[in-house]
């Protein structure tokens, strides 16, 4: 199978590889896929709680080159966006940017799922934390 130049570039020079502190309240973690399916993506965002802007994004991916490229690209796009803007990223945007062939579309779907999962995790944490703050204020 021939890979597009952009897929090769992300594979050879993956952006934002690594991990953020998953216990931090400002970090959202999304883990999607399964080893049996041949891909697992972990995508993390760190959000500035003042302005809701994603300040940092990291990924680690077990999967084919297109899966690695999709998640690498996703972290690039996430940085600087607000959480709401990040939710607008669609798998088709990734397909177009990386020129993924039909058999690799599931890689882009996985990346979109990972973004959503990370944001959902972040929002859950915020949701849990706010009542705690409220309680503290009352006390």
């Amino acid at each position: 199978m021939a890979y597009s130049d952009k897929v090769l570039d992300h594979y050879n020079n993956p952006r934002n590889v690594g991990s953020l502190d998953k216990s931090s309240a400002s970090v959202g973690t999304g883990m999607v896929g399964a080893p049996e399916c041949g891909d697992v993506m972990k995508l993390q965002i760190r959000v500035n709680e003042e302005n809701g802007i994603i300040e940092d994004a990291k990924f680690k991916t077990f999967g084919c080159g297109s899966a690695i490229a999709s998640s690498s690209l996703a972290t690039e796009w996430l940085k600087g966006k607000t959480v709401d803007e990040a939710l607008q990223i669609k798998n088709t945007d990734i397909v177009n940017e990386l020129s993924l062939p039909p058999v690799k579309i599931h890689c882009s779907v996985l990346a979109e799922d990972a973004i959503k999962a990370a944001i959902s995790d972040y929002r859950n944490k915020q949701g849990v934390r706010i009542p705690v703050h409220a309680e503290q204020t009352v006390a």
């Binding site: 594979y11 590889v17 399964a34 399916c37 697992v40 993506m41 972990k42 991916t61 077990f62």
Partner: protein
């Protein structure tokens, strides 16, 4: 050293230049039809075919009259299985094969099932070998054929062919083996191995593509096969069609070279394979061999690199030609059915690489491949969330994955 490096010799082999030299005169100079009995052109072609028949027969310990030429192993497998099924239909309708056979065998068996035959697909033990007791128990009075490959094309595991043949003979059942990965690589003898029918192909032993043969036993027992193509009645009526004389000459020469050089070549192949394995095991943690190391072709190594997906690994070693059992490299998006038949999880099957070492590989190439692979696996593990989790002590088998 030139790149890309070819280490996919179970898929096909580079033709030996000596084979090409033997073939060349039979394209333009000696172009006769081996079936032309009444002139010099035909006689020369027939002599060349006779010589090749003898070279092939010598390699597998039989006589030239038991060699039927075909277009390759897929045709040979089809002819053997369908030909026996049709010829012995009155005796029975049951065939026994194994889960890790080549598709040319499995799909032929599936076709026969549609025509009322019953097929038993033996499971494999974890080391890739068949369970002989299970084979014994599977034979019924309706069984007409057992077809089990000599050596597997993915994991290189060599089946206990002589014992399988012995069981078949005791029970009066014919034994066919797809010998393509073993012939010319390790000693194969149809008499000591108790084989009745065997598929042969040229391109796996440094010969040309598009030519093969079928060994069909003439005595003890006399095997009969119904032809699957109608025509001029060539090859004792079992396979019609004008003989591919240059191809046959190539197959014969490839067999002669293999027979002469096998003892030294086996030692060299094993040395290179063992060196590759030792280097990879020294350079990386959590690498696993798939299939028995003891009963294995000296040319084969099949390894899984845990926490790294096969296609991404191939992408990183794009100057090395190997195969992966990963789903992403196949059209079906299913990981290797051979590895799954050994009981491997899909995750470890996705992480596998098959190395097929061949006559033209050098030690320098093996050293390069080992070094490159170690670098790429390490890089991909840095990228792998699974490796990170494993290092944190998380038992990956207990994680509930959001499967998609």
């Amino acid at each position: 050293m030139k790149t890309p490096i070819y280490l996919d010799n179970h898929a096909t082999t580079r033709m030996d230049p000596r084979v090409l030299d033997a073939m060349l005169p039979y394209f333009t100079e000696h172009f006769g039809n081996a079936a032309s009995r009444n002139h010099e052109f035909g006689w020369v072609a027939e002599q060349a075919v006779d010589k090749a028949r003898k070279q092939i027969a010598d390699l597998i310990g039989t006589t030239p009259r038991e060699i039927i030429f075909t277009s390759g192993a897929t045709e040979s497998d089809n002819l053997a299985i369908k030909g026996v099924a049709e010829m012995y239909a009155e005796k029975g309708n049951h065939i026994i094969t194994a889960a890790t056979e080549h598709k040319a065998v499995l799909d032929t068996c599936k076709k026969l099932e549609k025509h009322g035959y019953r097929v038993t697909y033996l499971p494999l033990k974890g080391d890739g070998l068949i369970d002989l007791d299970m084979l014994r128990e599977s034979i019924t009075d309706k069984t007409i054929l057992v077809t089990i490959m000599y050596a597997n094309n993915e994991i290189g595991v060599i089946q206990p062919v002589a014992e399988i043949g012995k069981i078949c003979r005791e029970r009066g059942v014919l034994f066919h083996t797809d010998g393509v990965q073993a012939i010319g690589k390790v000693p194969v003898n149809v008499n000591t191995d108790n084989i009745d029918i065997m598929s042969i192909t040229a391109h796996k032993l440094y010969g040309p593509k598009g030519v093969g043969a079928l060994y069909v036993r003439r005595k003890n027992p006399r095997v009969q096969i119904t032809a699957q193509m109608d025509g001029g009645g060539h090859e004792r009526g079992m396979r019609s069609g004008t003989l591919n004389v240059p191809g046959i000459v190539g197959l014969g020469e490839a067999c002669a070279i293999a027979q002469r050089e096998m003892p030294q070549e086996m030692v060299r192949m094993r040395y290179l394979r063992d060196k590759l394995r030792a280097k990879l095991e020294a350079g990386l943690d959590e690498v696993y061999i798939n299939g028995s190391m003891e009963h294995r072709l000296p040319q084969n190594l099949n390894m899984s690199f845990a926490y790294v997906e096969g296609e991404s690994l191939l992408m990183g070693i794009n100057d090395i030609a190997v195969s992966s059992g990963s789903a992403c490299t196949s059209a079906t998006l299913e990981p290797s059915y051979v590895l799954k038949a050994l009981g491997l999880g899909d995750d470890i099957a996705h992480s596998s690489i098959r190395f097929g070492i061949g006559r033209f590989n050098t030690e320098e190439e093996i050293d390069y491949v080992a070094g490159k692979l170690i670098d790429v696996v390490k890089k991909l593990r840095e990228l792998s969330p699974l490796y990170e989790m494993a290092k944190e002590g998380i038992d990956l088998s207990k994680v509930v994955w959001a499967a998609h």
